[in-house]
């Protein structure tokens, strides 16, 4: 399992669970889950790129 697949895997399931936990309506749950998924993946990639420029 590559780094990126691992990231997708854990982000997906965490987003699904949090979507169901944090919202009550099905539509709101999906929106919350999708936002959280892309937030987790996007922030991880962004943090990875920022760390790339660190010299040590």
């Amino acid at each position: 399992m590559s780094h990126f697949i691992s990231l997708i895997f854990i982000s997906f399931f965490v987003s699904v669970v949090f979507g169901l936990l944090m919202r009550n309506e099905p539509k709101a749950q999906i929106i919350y889950g999708v936002k959280m998924f892309f937030g987790l993946v996007g922030f991880a990639i962004l943090a990875g790129w920022l760390l790339y420029f660190l010299p040590w």
Binding site: S6, I10, F13, V16, V17, L21
Partner: protein
């Protein structure tokens, strides 16, 4: 009704058998608390999500920090990880009994696996708390 009466009512309802059963079932099997509360779809999704993370964690040779193992007494962070992993409930002890999650930290995927296991355990705690809220009547 003042706040003390409200708190007293809340305390009483927390002690009802149905609430306790939902909590205990949630720690026996992920999503079982919701199954008991007749939330079938949520129970299935919680079960699949948390179980998938646990299986992936084991397959990635993650370390299951446990108070039952010597590796948990080596530091404060490991103690916290051990307490967090207890959130898996019965699953924690099953993994321990089959000596799963006792991997070598030099394996490349060990950190990922360990993270998967801890995240699954903490998610299960949140799911059990959600089942408790539903059983009490605070959530639907």
């Amino acid at each position: 009704m003042n706040s003390s009466q409200t708190a007293d009512k809340q305390q009483r309802s927390l002690m009802e058998p149905g609430v306790i059963i939902a909590i205990v079932l949630g720690f026996i099997l992920p999503g079982a608390g919701h199954l008991y509360l007749k939330k079938l779809a949520r129970a299935a999704i919680y079960f699949v999500s948390i179980t998938s993370l646990v299986i992936a964690g084991v397959l990635l040779h993650g370390t299951l920090f446990s108070l039952l193992r010597m590796n948990s007494g080596n530091g404060f962070l490991q103690l916290l990880a051990s307490i967090g992993n207890l959130g898996l409930g019965l699953g924690h002890f099953i993994l321990h009994a089959f000596n799963l999650g006792n991997s070598d930290i030099t394996i490349r995927t060990n950190e990922y696996g360990t993270t998967f296991l801890i995240v699954a355990a903490l998610l299960n705690v949140l799911v059990v708390l959600n089942a408790m809220d539903i059983a009490v009547g605070e959530k639907e």
